[in-house]
Symmetry: C5
Subunit: 351 residues, 5 copies
Amino acid sequence: MTYFTKRYHPPGTAPGTLVEDEHLESRPLRLKLMDYNTQSLEEHDDISFTECRPYLERPTITWIHAHGYAGAELLRELGQTFSLHPLALEDVLNTGQRPKLENYDHQLFAIMSLPLWDGDDIEVEQISLFFGPGYVISFHYGDHDPFEPIRKRLRAQGGRLRERGADYLFYTLLDVIVDQSFPILEELGERIETVEDQLLDKPTRLTLERIHLLKRDLLLLRRQLWPQREVLSQLQREDQSLIDETTKPYLRDCYDHTVQIMELFETYRDMLAGMLDMYLSGASHRLNDIMRVLTVIATLFIPPTFLVGIYGMNFQHMPELHWPYGYGLVWLIIVAVMGGMLVYFKRRNWF
Amino acid sequence: MTYFTKRYHPPGTAPGTLVEDEHLESRPLRLKLMDYNTQSLEEHDDISFTECRPYLERPTITWIHAHGYAGAELLRELGQTFSLHPLALEDVLNTGQRPKLENYDHQLFAIMSLPLWDGDDIEVEQISLFFGPGYVISFHYGDHDPFEPIRKRLRAQGGRLRERGADYLFYTLLDVIVDQSFPILEELGERIETVEDQLLDKPTRLTLERIHLLKRDLLLLRRQLWPQREVLSQLQREDQSLIDETTKPYLRDCYDHTVQIMELFETYRDMLAGMLDMYLSGASHRLNDIMRVLTVIATLFIPPTFLVGIYGMNFQHMPELHWPYGYGLVWLIIVAVMGGMLVYFKRRNWF
Amino acid sequence: MTYFTKRYHPPGTAPGTLVEDEHLESRPLRLKLMDYNTQSLEEHDDISFTECRPYLERPTITWIHAHGYAGAELLRELGQTFSLHPLALEDVLNTGQRPKLENYDHQLFAIMSLPLWDGDDIEVEQISLFFGPGYVISFHYGDHDPFEPIRKRLRAQGGRLRERGADYLFYTLLDVIVDQSFPILEELGERIETVEDQLLDKPTRLTLERIHLLKRDLLLLRRQLWPQREVLSQLQREDQSLIDETTKPYLRDCYDHTVQIMELFETYRDMLAGMLDMYLSGASHRLNDIMRVLTVIATLFIPPTFLVGIYGMNFQHMPELHWPYGYGLVWLIIVAVMGGMLVYFKRRNWF
Amino acid sequence: MTYFTKRYHPPGTAPGTLVEDEHLESRPLRLKLMDYNTQSLEEHDDISFTECRPYLERPTITWIHAHGYAGAELLRELGQTFSLHPLALEDVLNTGQRPKLENYDHQLFAIMSLPLWDGDDIEVEQISLFFGPGYVISFHYGDHDPFEPIRKRLRAQGGRLRERGADYLFYTLLDVIVDQSFPILEELGERIETVEDQLLDKPTRLTLERIHLLKRDLLLLRRQLWPQREVLSQLQREDQSLIDETTKPYLRDCYDHTVQIMELFETYRDMLAGMLDMYLSGASHRLNDIMRVLTVIATLFIPPTFLVGIYGMNFQHMPELHWPYGYGLVWLIIVAVMGGMLVYFKRRNWF
Amino acid sequence: MTYFTKRYHPPGTAPGTLVEDEHLESRPLRLKLMDYNTQSLEEHDDISFTECRPYLERPTITWIHAHGYAGAELLRELGQTFSLHPLALEDVLNTGQRPKLENYDHQLFAIMSLPLWDGDDIEVEQISLFFGPGYVISFHYGDHDPFEPIRKRLRAQGGRLRERGADYLFYTLLDVIVDQSFPILEELGERIETVEDQLLDKPTRLTLERIHLLKRDLLLLRRQLWPQREVLSQLQREDQSLIDETTKPYLRDCYDHTVQIMELFETYRDMLAGMLDMYLSGASHRLNDIMRVLTVIATLFIPPTFLVGIYGMNFQHMPELHWPYGYGLVWLIIVAVMGGMLVYFKRRNWF
């Protein structure tokens, strides 16, 4: 993950300007349509927007999922059909937005963040959702399609999803996006525990780097996800014209999930901070150990080494050299000095 | 305790789905029923749900305690009898939820966290409670039964518990769960004091690890317990139809306990943070001590050792070697150098 | 001070249970009664509760101060006379409660924390106060009597205290308790300054321990005292039936004191945190100093020592030993090497 | 950036005093006027304030941009024409103010902060805006003109800007100022990533200084920018007389940008804090590595060196010197001692 | 500055007691009176309170400034004339109070903190202000008179100050006190920058102490000043009877200043915290540098020194000593060992 992910127009550009991003490699757009009520279900893959239009006018519930790169052309067309606000369209195009919920008259516009494992790295993809009476339109630029389980549930006749309105479909899509965080947090939790075990067992420079990178990823991921709590909290306060009273408990449940996700983030962050403290404290403990050994050995041998140096000098007049017990005496002095220092170190608790 | 304890369905599963967890070892469910009013009390252990049903229709107060693994089958049956919300049933099954309070029409649903010592480790078990007019249904998946003292009090005729409604029974159960934290916090407080004594006396690598593990346990436990404060705060704001005005002071008292528990957590956390700081500061103090000794001894002896090395050389032409007082002079120089350094070190406050 | 000071019943005990604590050494209860209005004052020391009763029924203001251990028996009796809430009585008995204010119909119940020097240690004693129309009942389990100055002021005719109602007496008692913190904080402030002087002058391991213990005491004391701010803030919001409008400015003044006390706690805590940082930074500074000296001396002498070792070898064929200027040359090399290193160290700013 | 940037009069000066700052090098003021409605557009560069006046009385929308140093004289004149509050004029003159929004009767006065790269440094320039019915007056003391793109959009007929009122122009100007932060934050984000790479690869003293300076710049920039969030939040709450309902979504969008900017600041700050921790932890890791090597080598060789010193002594009576296998024995002892120490170090995980 | 500056009566003293502080050296009180309206101005220096009285009864605006030590006697007299609240009088006498605003019926009472340079130290002096219809009474115990510029403005006829009511005078006095913080913060800002330069250039133990003392001063000063923000925020919410609507923008401006002052405090504190981190990180960097050099040199020379020691032994049977190329071989080995270690260190990036 990089630090700055927001795409923006140069300052001074008119708001709502839909300029296609040349850096974005072209990825052909595919529209998937599902149109259903309790009795019937129609499903179309890869149809054009013009073909979608008649479904939107029917009393049935219509879900259009735009997968891939929604060009400026399509968005403008879409904006006219549904009288969408230009600012919303600009946000669909310029991915990397902060999750938010906007209420334009008879329409809710939500931006959500979908976290995904991209190999060993975490990526966050933007999903934009328009929801109005009888329809939901979702945009997703990315490879993975998180909504396949929803389609399966829609195809099964008799499920709750088929019996309820577009607001319940809208909730379901939000719920899927929010719940994607759980497997990711579970995996992160396991990684943190692995690193913690390493830390307590045998910490290396790699352990340190892993802690740092986990902290960084958590921080960046958290910034992308935490506004979702506000989105769901706001949705509960929406009036009944768009969201039915019976859907509210489900939204509350989904809101609880966002709260839990944020609490896990807090816990993980505190955990990692504690592990860094632990690393530093452990390092200073080991350093003390090493220094103690070095000091004990060096100080035990340095004075005797000096002493034997004395009697290695070649002066002509060194009376001690001729004493019969000189050599034995030197050994005695050495043993006494070393013993004295050992006692001193012992008393200072150095080993 | 592990970091990620929540059990969840794969994202996209329909909300309210009751799928039994195959990983959960089967633990047969036992229902305990108590049905009472001021005059009479009926108690049944290990009866089936069908046998419970008639009691629920009576005007007396009925408490059903489901101990063990409440399978999907029973929950579905239960849901139909009491028209329970499917999301609540899902939360009963998927343990590891965050404590919360939900108000479904004529029924309160509470999830609480019961902290327990599991040997030397702290475990948190989920207790789910349904409370409606005239009944309380509690679910607990775990070995220990915290509600035995309540049963004793119920059996004793004339107690306040027998004279009051189901709301008071509901309060009593919550109170027991909340108060379980006190003995655990008392024990933790003693452990922290033990570690602190070690820290001030003779800190080792083990002390450090203990501080880290205590911090970790506190953090994980706190995450599980702090939403209970919100649960009890919310309960006080519930209207009178379910909770009688005379029960409110008791709920306030229980709320005060949750506040006290959180304050203890804060205090302990700050205490442990202070102890880590203390460890680091103490370690750097000891390191300074050790380095001082090493430096003093090494620097005292290194120059003299060099000097005696000089006169240990075997050059043919070294005039000093033939001086009659050369040897004495060397000793003089050595003593002067060492004395000078001692004075210098003394002035620098090095010993 | 210990970390866990709250006394509690085992979880599951009925709320309001008054069980005497066997661990509490018996300390005979003494009741002091003062009954007054503007004109007259009656004072009785060490009377029984039965004797107190008639005073309570008079229109005069009655203050009963229960000093010592209020047994379960007396509390039950008291509870019946004044129809006190059982939860309040439980809190009087189980000392170590968090300061709080409860409003039971026509009666306010306050728990306050009285901080005291116990030799070199700080102790916190609980004072419980009941206040209703025309009476105040105070409970205090401890040696020191903080209310003696109030009694003196009551005995003096014509003081404001005699002219006003029981609410003013209630305020006065709270005010005395709150103001006890000032001398303690003043003393703590002086200790912190002493430690700071030590830190800047000559820090030792003892300095470090003192900082740690001051931090700890502040933390524990703060936990006991800060809810008193909430008590006084709540009192100001009480309606006029119990507390007269003219007493409100006094309560506001007392509230301001609690705010000032909390600000002092914050300041002291930040101060101590800064001193720990200072200690660590200073230690690393000293370590650098020491290491610099060690390194300079060791590296100055190690290469020359190696060199003189070379010419101390006893090989038969070492041509340099026979050079007439060999010895002088060795000295030249040594001086050159040492000088070069000195220049290098100087440039690196090592001394 | 310097820490204290606010310009202020000496305490006690009358509020609203317009004293010209002698330290400010004179920079001639240039007024740019644009007067437009849907059909027509008039543009004048470098005209006098007297010439501007008739435009202000027309029903068209008038935008006067004062670029350069607005002297006390002009401001006083301006104040009389529009009955501006003297405090607002003082704030225009004394740059370095905190962003804020003031509502004087029929007029909004906003102070905004424009961040700019000044070579390698970030500068913040103040832009002051008056907005009333039909006019916007903007003041900017600085070299760079951020409003040029707006003029281009105004010149293009048929744009949304031409069709809407002065409130939309006011929004547009604010939006341009707010969005200037994005390129700066993008650049800062890249710098932080560069420093992070250095940190993980090969940290030097320069890395440390860069982290410190980035932290400092972020802190100072954040202080200047964060009140802008409050300005935009306040604007949304303004009543409809000045700001049209259809402009509100645009203000909300601009507000969202200020929120995103603040979140980026938080993320960057946390990132940099984490990098400093990482630096410290890494340094203590390296220190441990170095000390380990030093200790192993020093302790391996110090005892043998002492031993060979023994047999370099010149005592007449040293029996070992005459043993035929003495020399071999010494080698044996040396190898044994070194081997033993190697085993000990290995067990302690020192290499 | 000392940590505990509040003066307080012993706990239990009656509130509103005016006991003169014997520790306070007597400093004769001087009253300065200014009585004015738009047309006329009377000014009296050093008059008695009895002489002041007639001015207070006139419809003109009267400002009495009491400079020096206001004894208990005068305060009591004053209290009777204006029916001041005894608690306010006590606060005037007991300096070192927290800034606050009290509304007693028809009178506002404000305590403010005036920060001043006392040589190199910062002192905070209390200024107490009573403001009622037509009068302001100010008390100040200290040497410096901050209100002289106000008097100058009052003397100048035609100024805004002369044309407006006592509320504007009250605002003006508060404004002067608040603005005194700017020069002090400017000076502190410069000191912090100086210390920062030292830190980046050549940090010494003195740098460390300066950072600590700056942090301490900021902390203590901040505690004294931040309640002033609350005072000014409260004043804006006062009803119109005392404070005219046209004075409100000026109060808002003054409030903005208090906000800016607090933000500067935050910035400075964060800055200093960052500098301490920087110091620690820099110290550990330097330590690493030093240790690297020591280790490289020591480990390069220790093994060769051991080797030459070997051949300095005096054993009779050392065959190598007699080899014709023994000496050359030793040199070869030494060069090989040293070269090998250099390569190893190079690879580890140690120099």
